[in-house]
């Protein structure tokens, strides 16, 4: 097995304590605190936003059926457009996350990872 294959059972190998101390140091360090702040500062509000938007849609489809049935052009209704807008927003948020993660998360995560591997 590889060096990374640690045992997390009840019995810890002696080296585990040393390793964990390193993890605690890293966790308290400014780079890691910044990484966590960036990740949570993006994914939590965005998750709240898309869930709210989705449930707004669900509630409209359940309780505002007249509004959803309003024709916009020909047989195309508000409901169809709002439904398709859910597709558009899902695709857009996916693309936005990929951009954000590649720019703001991945380099910092790699930096911390490398410094930890040097430490060993």
């Amino acid at each position: 097995m590889q060096a990374t294959d640690w045992d997390f059972g009840e019995v810890k190998p002696p080296s585990a304590h040393e390793q964990a101390t390193l993890h605690e140091q890293v966790q308290a360090g400014p780079e890691f605190v910044e990484l966590r702040r960036r990740l949570r500062g993006w994914v939590f509000p965005m998750s709240a936003a898309f869930l709210l938007w989705y449930f707004a849609y669900v509630v409209l489809a359940s309780y505002a059926r007249e509004l959803m049935a309003t024709p916009v052009s020909g047989v195309i209704t508000v409901g169809l457009l709002v439904g398709l807008a859910q597709f558009v927003s899902t695709f857009a948020l996916t693309a936005a996350y990929v951009r954000f993660a590649a720019r703001r998360l991945d380099p910092l995560a790699a930096q911390i990872r490398c410094s930890m591997e040097d430490h060993r």
Binding site: H23, V43, A69, G83, T94, V98
Partner: protein, 544 residues
């Protein structure tokens, strides 16, 4: 089954389907030759790229419920069928933003791995395995239940011939067991990829064909659909299928929070070399799944617009897409589409079997029973034995559940996954204080509440009989022990599971090393330091 459904040529259907089976068997056999370790068997050596895994995830996710169920629901009920697909798609954002990468970095093979990181291993692994097996069983039943209608279409064995259909289910189930035994996760992944490509190309061709028939004019397609539908323009408005708004909200909650708790989806994140590839997989899956649902929208309204009125009814709605294929491209396209639909069921069943067997062998056998002392060799042997057992259960369940509503059974699997798994996973990944008591409360609390509410729901018993057919829309006929008013338990069981997890955490004791373990898990989760690496050589080049 009415005479008009006996369309197509059995020989042609069998030939096309046989070709699929042959190609996949060869691939599975080749994959099996390189499957030796637990990492090979459960996670394909973590050697798939993000795009490959993304296609495989789409293959795992786009089950018979998505293809046949949603196209049929749109054909019959219009807009309300579309609502299902929106929930199924938006749900992927939960997986992308909150779960996929962190899980990839912290676990090895199963959901139990993530929980075991900083909690007492044996109870949380047992709990995670229990919920994995229950969710997989619901999902498996749904897939096998859908097989009956397809067999009727593909081989022209009528639904009334229970023995004939049962025999086919036995043959199909045995084939699946062989796939999983021989090919492990790698072979299963190849099956998913081939199936996903066939399914996406097949639906794309059909959607393009439908649009071609109406001169690429979507407005024209919708107008024709409204003319032909007995509901008129009401098919563009919500309300034909879901008459109870609260029930619909409950379903919507289960759909959007269920995906990121489905064990067979979670397990796929371990087949790639690192978290960035896990992210790429989900991104690929989102695009493929989204585009696929747009195709089903065209197919559903297309079936209403192009088929003679009355061809697709509530009773045979699962066959809307195949019947549309016959209308467009005759026997050949019908053969292709029904073979694809059948391949869809096979691939999803294989994915569920490997997930259930991994969870039992890795969490229950290796870590709960043998307390981590099992050799990888014996663990894989137990996993293979479990796969056989799960396969046999699927065969028996498939024969018993034959004819049940597919999309509905899948929605129940989503509700159980969203109740038992997702709250526990999110707490475990993001909440420093979360502990063993909290995990057990949210898993078992969510699991028991959702299953009990399903049993006591009108979905199982007590819906009034349809005056036309004399049959109730409930699963059981002639009895009424329903107590819970909603078909789907999500609205109650999901918030309750979050609440139980929080209460359990506050009441439960804190381990002395909790802070140290959380530090290790959080650092690994966010940075990928020390995460499980790929064990196959080509992955190293892929990862860079």
């Amino acid at each position: 089954m009415s005479a008009e459904e006996q369309v197509g040529s059995v020989g042609l259907n069998l030939a096309i389907f046989g070709a699929f089976v042959l190609v996949t068997l060869v691939l599975v056999y080749r994959a099996g030759r390189t499957t030796h370790t637990t990492s090979d068997y459960y996670a394909a050596g973590r050697g798939f790229t993000g795009p490959q895994n993304g296609v495989a995830i789409a293959g795992d996710y786009l089950s018979a419920a998505s293809f046949l169920g949603i196209a049929g629901a749109i054909a019959v009920n219009g807009y309300d069928g579309f609502l299902y697909s929106i929930g199924f798609l938006v749900a992927w954002l939960v997986a992308l933003l909150l779960v996929a990468e962190l899980m990839r970095n912290t676990g090895r093979f199963t959901m139990g791995d993530v929980l075991a990181y900083r909690m007492r291993q044996r109870p949380v692994r047992a709990a995670a395995a229990t919920s994995t097996l229950v969710v997989s069983a619901f999902y498996l039943l749904a897939q096998m239940a859908g097989a009956g209608g397809l067999i009727a279409l593909l081989l022209q064995i009528p639904a009334g011939d229970r023995i004939g259909q049962g025999l086919v289910i036995v043959v199909v189930g045995t084939l699946m067991i062989v796939y999983v035994l021989v090919g492990g996760m790698k072979g299963t992944t190849y099956v998913q990829i081939i199936k996903a490509v066939l399914l996406l190309v097949g639906t794309a061709v059909m959607a393009a064909w439908v649009l071609g028939v109406v001169g690429l004019d979507v407005g024209e397609l919708l107008e024709r659909a409204a003319e032909r539908s007995p509901h008129g323009t009401a098919i563009f408005e919500p309300g034909l299928q879901y008459t109870n708004p609260v029930d619909f909200i409950s379903l919507a909650l289960a759909l959007v929070l269920g995906t990121a708790g489905l064990p067979h989806i979670l397990m796929r994140f371990y087949t790639v070399p690192n978290a960035v590839e896990a992210r790429r997989s989900v991104v690929w899956a989102i695009w493929l799944v989204g585009v696929f649902y747009l195709f089903t929208l065209v197919l559903g309204y297309g079936a209403t617009a192009l088929l003679p009125p009355g061809t697709v009814t509530a009773a045979n709605q699962n066959n809307a897409a195949p019947l549309l294929a016959y209308h467009l491209g005759g026997e050949f396209l019908l053969g292709v589409v029904s073979a694809i639909a059948f391949a869809t069921i096979l691939a999803v069943v294989a994915g569920l079997m490997i997930t259930a067997s991994a969870s039992f062998a890795h969490d229950v056998y290796a870590n709960v029973i043998r307390r981590g002392a099992a050799s990888p060799r014996s663990e894989v042997r137990v996993a293979r034995l479990t796969a056989v057992a799960v396969g046999i259960i699927a065969i028996v369940g498939g024969i018993v559940a034959n004819g049940q509503n597919v999309a509905f059974l899948v929605a129940l699997a989503f509700a159980v996954a969203a109740s038992a798994n997702l709250p526990t996973l999110l707490y475990s990944l993001f909440w420093a204080r979360f502990n063993t008591t909290g995990a057990l409360c949210s898993i078992y609390g969510g699991l028991v509440t959702s299953v009990v509410l399903i049993v006591l729901s009108p979905a199982v018993s007590g819906k009034p009989a349809d005056p036309a057919t004399g049959r109730s829309a409930s699963m059981l006929q002639g009895v009424d022990f329903h107590w819970f008013p909603l078909d789907n338990p999500g609205l109650v069981s999901i918030p309750l599971s979050f609440l139980l997890g929080a209460v359990g955490t506050v009441l439960g004791g804190r381990r002395p090393d909790a802070a140290r373990r959380y530090a290790e898990m959080e650092v690994r989760a966010l940075t990928g330091a020390g995460a499980e690496r790929a064990t196959v050589p080509e992955a190293a080049t892929v990862a860079r």
